[in-house]
């Protein structure tokens, strides 16, 4: 999104107001004593402040700001929206990029340079996080005026529920039907042997020992079968608190994934078939994040 003059607002800063007061005092003195040199200084400083405004405008206009991506985070974590800023035809000095209510980075971008910036934002609850308009501002060159613009870049970010670990008792509720009766079932499955690495295989299963011996890249095979999975069930919890149950499920998804376990997820109106891997984990977390928030997200 290219910044135009129309989008830019101008406000005096506190220092600008102080400068105005000083200028007023100088003016009063010059008028009272009919001091022409005083007039010269007052008009020079006033003129410079006015002209600096044009440089401030030039510093911002024509800059191209685009939203790139935002990695999903868990609720309560600080999220970073990645944006790309192109300086285009001139240097952009000391520009601040921030989201409402958050502090953001100050940056200077050289002429024709493109910079990728991460704008932090604190998330509070799960769902689709819409941080509001990106505010960029600058007080360059004198610090007397704050020029800024609010850009609606339609930035969104997925926020997963905050993972909450629970005791064994509550885990009972999480267990469901399936090959395993108990989600506390001990660790990974039995080791079967090695097979040749193919692109797309899970990096976590690479047999590093074999790599270090120089035998090539192999992955470890486990007897993880379709017959051995866990179904994480929303309705199986004792607690009736939706957010708590989602947080517990989130924690369990992460735990199951770290054990490379096959797991499925059952939410009201939604069933995700047991599977494993990165994509499956994300699908499950996404379902948890958006549970009953579908409408808001749309």
């Amino acid at each position: 999104m290219v910044l135009t003059r129309k989008q830019i607002f101008i406000r005096p800063t506190r220092h600008g107001l102080l400068f105005l007061i000083i200028l007023g005092a100088m003016m009063a003195g010059s008028i009272n004593y009919n001091n022409n040199a005083g007039f010269i200084l007052v008009f020079l400083l006033g003129g410079m402040a006015l002209i600096s405004l044009f440089y401030s405008l030039k510093n911002l206009t024509g800059m191209d700001v685009a939203f790139v991506s935002a990695r999903p985070v868990f609720a309560g974590q600080t999220n970073a929206f990645t944006i790309q800023v192109q300086a285009k035809n001139q240097e952009r000095v000391a520009v601040n990029f921030a989201l409402p209510g958050q502090a953001g980075p100050w940056t200077t971008i050289a002429k024709n340079e493109t910079k990728t910036l991460e704008i932090p934002a604190q998330t509070a609850k799960r769902g689709v996080f819409i941080p509001g308009a990106l505010t960029l501002c600058s007080v360059f060159p004198f610090g007397f005026f704050r020029l800024g613009a609010r850009l609606s870049l339609h930035m969104t970010c997925l926020v997963y529920p905050m993972p909450v670990k629970g005791g064994a008792a509550s885990d009972r509720g999480g267990s469901g039907t399936g090959g395993s009766a108990d989600t506390r079932h001990a660790g990974p499955d039995d080791f079967q042997g090695l097979s040749l690495y193919q692109p797309g295989h899970d990096v976590g299963r690479i047999a590093w020992k074999a790599v270090s011996r120089g035998q090539g890249i192999f992955i470890k095979n486990f007897t993880a079968g379709a017959d051995h999975f866990t179904l994480l069930n929303f309705d199986a919890f004792v607690s009736r608190d939706t957010e708590y149950r989602l947080s517990r499920l989130c924690s369990m998804v992460l735990a199951a994934d770290s054990r490379n376990q096959s797991f499925g997820l059952k939410l009201p109106h939604t069933l995700i078939a047991p599977a494993r891997g990165q994509a499956h984990k994300k699908k499950c977390l996404r379902a948890l994040a958006l549970y009953s928030r579908k409408k808001e997200a749309a």
Partner: protein, 648 residues
Amino acid sequence: MNRDTRHALPIIFALVVAIAPHTPGLPAWIIVWCFFMWGYMLVRLKTGWPLPGAILRHILAVAGITGLLVTFSVRIEADAFVGLMAVMAAIKPFEMATHRHRMITLLLTYFIIITSLFRSESLWIILYLFFSVFVTTAALIRINRPEGRLMPSVFLTARILAQAIPLMVLLFLVFPRLQHGLFSMETPGTGRSGFSEKLGFGSISRMTLDQSLAFRVAFDGALPPPDALYWRGVVFERFDGTQWLPTDNPVEISSVQENGPGLVPHTITLEPHKSRRLFALDRPVAAPPGAELTAGHILVSRQRVTRKKTYQAVSRIRTTADDNRKTDTLSSDLVFTQPNNNPKARLLARSLAEGTADAHGKIQQILAYFTENDFTYTLTPPRLGDHPMDEFLLETRQGYCEHYAGALAFLLNVQEIPARVVGGYLGGELNPYGNYLSIRQSFAHAWVEVYTSDRGWVRIDPTLAVAPDRLEQNPDGSFSYSGTTRDAISVFKKMGFLLEAVNLAWEAWFTGYSFSEQKALLQRLGFGTSWGTGTVFFLLLTLSVMVVAVFFWMFLHRSGVTKKDPVTAGYALFCKRLARIGLARSPDQGPMAFLLTVQEKRPDLGPEAAAITDMYIRIRFHRTCPDNLTKQFIDQIKQFTPARQAEQ
């Protein structure tokens, strides 16, 4: 270079530049104080010595203010104010850790700059002002640039400064000036004491070492001859036994409207000297505006001359008996001196008067007494005691102009011839580039005027009897203007003259530019003043402010696309035509929703409106749209003239 250094260096430099013009007026300890504090800041950038803590900073502030109170007691005057600024500016760099403090320090620096302008308005000070503003602004930009490169800040400052100058000139010329100040406060200007109110022995010779300027004079026509360059300032009519005193209550006399030959109009630019006295060529016949001509042909300003003042004076340099008889009067309170002092001098006066009856003869006798008795002209005469006339005339016989003038007037008064001492300046240094004379404090002089019933007051300069070359040579050894030509002076002197001439030309215009000059300028530009000048000024100012504001607003809100976009204009026309027949588009309706409304209310217009809307949407939102579609769209809208009533 770390962050502290990058910020501290430019700010300290800006402070030094701003304070520098004040150094002549500041007490030495403040200068040492400033150098010490700033020096410490600079040294610690290299060595990493600690900054003084909050307690030490407060102690320093209290110490500085105490020092000021001791130096200036409790007098509130310009120097004390500048001193306060300097003391504070010296310790301000200790607390520049935050951006806010740095900003405030630089704003304070701007304020220090303006205080230096109340000292002088010379061209050099104005040029220095630009330099000072430049340095401070570069520092300001520098601290607002987090990565802090210096050179781009300097270039940007130069650009902004250069672009602000036309605006500054315009505002300077049109900004309405008041005839009188706002609060009628005393100007915090500085000035020399110049002539004292009393003429004692030694009061003028003290001034001979002072090379500073008293005033400058430009002549409309040719320069008067050197022997006419007597600058009249003050008349002393009473002798109290040790010194001459001016008349107590000077009476205003009306300016005589004279014309004819012998009148010399001239323009004087007087340096401030804290009294109301104005100088003019001997003898002024008319008072400039804001001043009056008092008995004794002395010009007195209505206000004290605390700022440089430029005025026009008209003088008659060759007075004839006729002129004087018409205007001169012998003031009734002219008191002949009491006979209880200087008894030996009184005896001498009577003995010198013997044998001659007329005043002229008596004067010649006294002057002959000076020339025949080894009187010497010296700047460093011996000190005189309680009866100074006795000692000077009979013992020491060494003196300066005030001795000879005072003695001559005294002797004549004893002989009951009305005589008075006139104080002022004699001579002038010609600046060959500017065709004007500079009169320095060291040119101070005193002479005598004698009253005779047939000739009025006539000037007698007894110093010339003792030192005839005083006319050609100024007391400091420099030659009066008749003795100099352009070739005879050294290159440096020439350079000095040239710079001085430039500065004077500047000051004559710049310092004098005020209410009346502005009025004249605006009148020349064709702004008549039939409603009174104030109205015109404020109308002009309001108008210019409005014009600037409108331009500025247009600049800020100029949108690159929408104004000239034919498609938007076309669609707006389409909506306008429909609105005319009662189908206004409400702001929340998009083109599609509007089309539905049109189709519902006026089915006859449906197909046409649908075609236009379709084209509009295609132009706006389709990725591929034929180039000629815009033209077709506009044409169709132009042909679209909906009838008020649906066709039956």
